[in-house]
């Protein structure tokens, strides 16, 4: 697989702790958001999505929170595991579901 050496903001957490990864999006007209996980050497992998008519959505061990007032998105990972170590991206979509705009990502390091 391929990966890109990115100088990214990094979040380091202890195994078992909860992680919160934040994302500020750019356009108040964005109405659909996705969080992706990218492991080293692989393509991005879908985690969870949320529409703008919601402010919270839960998945398995993950929760996405959307604050449209301040254009902020967060991803919460419960009981973080070593396998969660990766780069996490948020993506926003407006008007056309084919055009997504990705953030630059946050690197999550999980310490055993």
């Amino acid at each position: 697989g391929e990966s890109v050496g990115l100088h990214l903001p990094t979040l380091s957490v202890q195994e078992g702790d909860n992680s919160i990864i934040n994302c500020a999006y750019s356009n108040s007209a964005s109405d659909y958001f996705i969080w992706y996980k990218q492991e080293s050497g692989k393509g991005p992998q879908f985690i969870i999505d949320i529409r703008s008519n919601m402010d919270k959505r839960q998945g398995q061990r993950v929760t996405v929170l959307l604050n449209k007032t301040v254009k902020h998105l967060s991803l919460q990972i419960a009981a973080t595991q070593p396998g969660d170590s990766a780069v996490y991206f948020c993506a926003e979509n407006m008007d056309n579901f084919n055009k997504f705009y990705f953030g630059s990502g946050t690197k999550l390091n999980v310490k055993p």
Binding site: G1, G5, H7, G43, F46, K99
Partner: protein
């Protein structure tokens, strides 16, 4: 994982030469995408397709063209490669307007 592959996985080429990257999916997905990933920029959409022979430009389409003659194949062509096109290229596909986008493993292209 959805059956999505990219070829070649690595390529080094000289400035001014044409390059074609291939994306192949076996899921009969309608929508396909080409992105590039560079340090500090996350993923940026180059072109996308919403059906056979139906394509449109993304955020960074200059210098790139695409073709989709069959549902399963989406080709990205750099007519005359430049050093600024050195990047990691990801293909993705999706079967419906919302929801998960499945990414390929990426192609690392170096233009010397």
């Amino acid at each position: 994982d959805a059956g999505i592959t990219q070829s070649p996985r690595h390529k080094v080429t000289e400035t001014g030469t044409p390059v074609t990257l291939r994306c192949h999916q076996t899921e009969n997905h309608r929508y396909m995408y080409w992105y590039r990933q560079d340090p500090g920029h996350g993923l940026r959409l180059i072109h996308y397709s919403y059906g056979v022979k139906d394509t449109d430009k993304g955020e960074v389409s200059d210098g790139y063209s695409v073709s989709r003659s069959k549902t399963e194949d989406f080709l990205l062509t750099l007519e005359s490669a430049t050093s600024s096109q050195t990047s990691v290229y990801f293909c993705a596909s999706r079967d419906r307007v919302e929801g998960e986008q499945y990414f390929g493993p990426g192609t690392r292209l170096t233009v010397t």
